[in-house]
Amino acid sequence: MPAPLLRLSDVHKSFGGVRALAGVDLELHRGSVTALIGENGAGKSTLVKILSGVHAPDAGSIELDGSAVRIATPVAARDLGIGVVHQECLVFDHLDVAENLFINAHPRRGALIDWRGMQARAAAVLRELGADFTADTRVGTLGIAQKHVVQIARALVNESRVLILDEPTASLSQRECAELFRIARQLRDRGCALLFISHRFDEIFELADRYAVFRDGSSVGAGDIAGTDRDRLIRLMVGRPVEQLFPRQEAVLGEPLLRVENLGRAGEFEDISFSLRRGEILGIYGLVGAGRTELAQVLFGARRADRGSVSGAADIALVPEDRQGQGSILPFSIAANIALPNLEALAPRGWTSARAENELARQWIGALGIKAQGPAQRVQSLSGGNQQKVVLAKWLARKPQVLILDEPTKGIDVGAKAAVHAVTSEFACAGNGVILISSELPEILGMSDRVLVMRRGRLRGEFPRHEATSELLLRAASDA
């Protein structure tokens, strides 16, 4: 094998006594995609920040093309040819695409910016990538997938040789993922070294040639994708075999809890009818934009339907997709977050009691295994998985009859995922109903007793547990 383009050896980094990286090694090769795998907190984000010049490593070496380099600033990273597609879409919404590509590097004629030249160069790069938008589009009007393409185009403009894709697919639909992968392969074939960070194994096996696994800030394995499989990677990630990712217990289905008839909301979904029984986990599968989140919000009562009716269970809880924006109040403590939907019970006379809130929080921290210092810890300082457990706790504490989960395990690590699934299954087995909205096929297939498929705001299929297969669901969900 030829020498790697980028090699990190024994890189260390601590933040105020907390060790984020305890000696990691990583090699990226020209014309190759390396998947970086690890649970949340394994050190992936720290590594990205080191490679993009935001943090300097405490110790260890970084070699680019055989010579040792220091990446002191983001500009240094750019000049070295290291480009990053950030998970959070770091783009300028108010500016047009061309300017987004050239920020702080605007082509100039004399002292003045050469707008026409900039537009032309941006248009050329977009054409090369086969982008479906033009250089003069305001970026704020683009979708997330297109914003990722803008970030890739920015890397191309900077002639990046190393491209880091930091969980780019977390909020993309299947079709958008395919488009992103097409572009990624195009860059790989041009000789770029790509680092692909993802929690989704199917994507990793689809795109990557090599893998590297981090656990607790250390490298625990690396090699060719061809010589490994999903179970081995999971074992490396968590350091223990994960017996069952989807511990769905068989529940006895009881009488209907919730009946939805001809529900519709203009421009979002229409003609939705189904019922949910006691003990049932009803999966709703579909691509992003199929109208599932909107349906969930209407069922929960956050928005009103234009047509149709929902009857049955009075107490419905919703764990929303946007857990940081809609699910929790980040600067509040765990106790305050859990207390919020339970204030009638906790403060019947209108006066809150810190003791009662803390007691309730302690109970749920224990029940769900939330990794926290205590009820007073702020939710924003928790990892994604533990944040999600807090959101679950605050609703479960109400003892609802129906729980709607909208992408409950998006972007959380394998361990937390298993915990969320276990809680969900237990909740259903206790005679309650669950509506599980997910874009992740293994999750839908593993957890659901019955699967509904939505496409463009309508139900396009219903599959009982034993009939549902990935292929059937995918076909029903896409326009094929």
């Binding site: 993009s52 935001v54 600033t73 983001p74 500009v75 750019r78 990053v84 950030h86 959070e88 770091l90 783009v91 300028f92 919404d93 108010h94 500016l95 047009d96 300017e99 920020i103 702080n104 590097a105 605007h106 100039r108 002292a111 003045l112 910016i113 707008w115 033009t134 003069d136 589009t137 305001r138 704020g140 009007t141 421009g267 979002e268 992003v288 934009g289 199929a290 109208g291 989140t293 909107e294 463009r456 705001g457």
Partner: protein, 330 residues
Amino acid sequence: MNLRAYRNWSEAARRDLKLAALTAILLVAVTWKFPGYAAPRNLAGVLDDTAILIMLALGQMLVILVRGIDLSMAANLALCGMLAALFNRAYPGAGVLPVLLLTLVAGGLSGAFNGLLVWKLKLPPIVVTLGTMSVYRGVIFLLSKGAWVNENEMSRGFLEFTRAQFLGLTTLAWGAILLSAAFIVGLRYSRAARNLYAAGGNPEAAAYAGVDPGRMQFMAYVIAGAIAGVCGYLWVARFAVAYTDIALGFELQVIAACLIGGVAIGGGVGSALGVVIGCLFLGIIRSSLPLVGVSAFWQMFINGVVILVAVLLSARARLGTRTILEAPRT
């Protein structure tokens, strides 16, 4: 230019155009009632009256663009005005140039103080400038011992510089015109200005592009401060008096002009042309209300309504373009 391009980048331009149309309608309406209003001489007077507002608003705009705000602008103006008056009293023969330099530097330093607190100590801009607003007024009191500097203590050159005319316009008006032109060109064609927009629009993304948002804020405060400083001299010379409370509360009019001119209070959006038109709009209202026989209190009321309407319109425009999770439809 194709239609698509027009739709995309003309959002700001269209806004400016609408405001310009509104301003023109206002001008026509006032002229219809008072035919003398549109006479070149009178309009030159309105421009002269509005010039300081325009210059300050351009400086304030830079600060707002990078998610800041400068409440201390009028206090800084008053401080530099007092400095100018005291300097002139001490050295009446020194001429105008040293006064201009002195106020430029002193204003810039005051701005730099704001900027450093915001940049290095990461303090919220509204708190920092609320504090320095009082501090700068306090310094004026210390410097002047609470006394006024009156016209008879100012030299002729000091007083006449602002009133000198060239092609029918005063130095003040020319200052506003030249600064506006510099801003309109500079904000579009200089890399530093584009980085400023970027830093205001998305500070994190800007940092990754090698633009330090804090440094951008600092620079905006320095420029705003320097403009306020020079305007301090212009103000004192124009009204021929310096005391602790000159331009008290004027910062609010300056911020109002920015908002009416289409600068987004959240940063990242705004055009120099829009701000200038916004100032002219306010200037025309201000100068025509006495003609209609409306009191100064109504003027404040009208200012407020105009701001609320402007903010309402821009909020509605944002809502209209927002699409979340909308599936493509057949």
